[in-house]
């Protein structure tokens, strides 16, 4: 019952579930695409304005689409009694939580990164800004997944935890939003944005070290 064995088993299981429940990763992706394609239509033929607001729009869309699937992350295992049995057996929940977070990112973060270059074109972003979008998403979406897992674990036993979850994690998203959209903005002016990327990387490292522990504890609390 090592952490690694549990991580591997849970990760494989989550990949199978992603393959079987396509709505879990298609819905957030569609949501992201819809927001970003509607913006040019809503704002109208003002390419300069669009270019100006693009960094914020892309990041808000990414944030909301990750939030969309967040609540479901541990819900099913909680309802089916899987978590209960894991806690009773004192299985290493750290491996389980990490695998859940990693698979959650594959389902809700990675697709956004893959389609973002295409969508950045709708908003008239330059190549430099586009690179910045992809880089900030690469650093930022894992952080989004970590934080949303924390929110999901904390609100697990709340019956309608959706709003509570948003209230808990949106404030944690705000620094990420500020630094990520600042990086894209700097890039679109042709300026250096390494400082913002460094801050994002630092936030990711801190979250990666601390959040799985907190998730594990929150799961235990909610099941017990």
């Amino acid at each position: 019952m090592s952490h690694v064995a549990v991580f591997r088993a849970t990760f494989q299981r989550e990949l199978k579930l992603l393959a079987r429940q396509k709505a879990d990763w298609v819905n957030p992706l569609l949501f992201f695409i819809i927001i970003l394609t509607l913006f040019p239509l809503g704002v109208g033929a003002k390419p300069n304005l669009l270019r100006e607001i693009a960094p914020g729009v892309i990041w808000i869309a990414a944030l909301l689409s990750v939030l969309l699937g967040a609540e479901r992350q541990f819900r099913q295992d909680y309802r089916d009694g899987v978590l209960e049995q894991l806690v009773a057996a004192r299985s290493p929940l750290l491996g389980y939580s990490l695998a859940k977070i990693a698979a959650g990112w594959l389902g809700s973060g990675l697709p956004l990164i893959l389609v973002s270059p295409l969508l950045a074109l709708f908003l008239g972003l330059s190549t430099e800004a586009l690179t910045a979008v992809v880089l900030t998403l690469l650093l930022g979406t894992p952080l989004l997944s970590l934080l949303s897992a924390l929110g999901a674990a904390l609100t697990l036993s709340a019956d309608k935890g959706g709003i509570l979850l948003a209230l808990i994690i949106l404030p944690l998203y705000i620094p990420l939003l500020i630094f990520a959209s600042a990086a894209v903005e700097q890039a679109s002016f042709g300026l250096n944005y390494q400082a913002q990327l460094a801050v994002l990387a630092a936030m990711l490292c801190v979250a990666l070290a601390l959040v799985p522990l907190a998730v594990q504890k929150a799961l235990k609390l909610n099941v017990g």
């Binding site: 894991l86 057996a89 004192r90």
Partner: protein, 206 residues
């Protein structure tokens, strides 16, 4: 004595479910917790499985307080609650595979095991397409793979047909022969071949 509890009490929603409850479970013994709906059977099992804290009282595993022997106890415990713990989108085989990694189950021929449980031909369809009784059988398959000594089973017979109940009681008997102990709840009288079943009744209290 494998498991014992002293002076346990449990309060849920301002209602005392039980208080000063003493309980002993010896090796080779089957203990059935009986009582009306809402009498606190499941709460008692959750407390004994270490999932919930009692309001008062202490639990001992092999004469050692649970606070000191929690890891040891967890390694020797197989808890199946009234929730089956079966992931409905996964097949029976995939569920078993996941449990094996998480609960340290014995390596075995899963196909043969599922066949003995009457699930031949259903091994690789998602469990949500199985009937309630068949899902229960998948969840109980863990009992054939575990090496835990103490089994805590909440309503294991629910939704099972006669042949599955017979198979389960035979498995419980062989577990007790091997020095294990079983704590279960059931609303029906439980007969385990070759073993007497001790009964503990929880009174419904206002």
């Amino acid at each position: 004595m494998l498991l014992s509890a002293r002076q346990l009490s449990c309060i849920r929603q301002d209602r005392v479910l039980f208080e000063q409850l003493d309980l002993q479970l010896h090796a080779g013994e089957v203990l059935q917790i009986a009582g009306k709906n809402g009498a606190g059977k499941s709460s008692l099992l959750r407390i004994l499985a270490g999932l919930a804290e009692p309001e008062d009282g202490e639990i001992f595993y092999q004469q050692q307080a649970l606070s000191q022997s929690a890891d040891d106890y967890a390694d020797n415990l197989c808890f199946i609650g009234h929730l089956a713990g079966v992931q409905p989108q996964l097949t029976a085989l995939e569920n078993l595979q996941f449990w094996r990694a998480c609960f340290g189950l014995k390596p075995a021929d899963d196909w043969a095991l599922l066949a003995t449980l009457g699930l031949a031909g259903l091994e690789d369809i998602p469990c949500q397409q199985l009937s309630a009784g068949q899902q229960r059988r998948v969840s109980l398959a863990r009992l054939w793979l575990t090496s835990a000594q103490v089994w805590i089973l909440d309503e294991p017979f629910t939704a099972l047909d006669q042949s599955a109940i017979a198979a389960l009681t035979r498995r419980i008997a062989s577990h007790c022969d091997a020095g294990g102990a079983v704590l279960l709840t059931s609303h029906q009288p439980v007969q385990v071949p070759g073993h007497s079943v001790r009964e503990l009744t929880l009174e419904y209290r206002w």
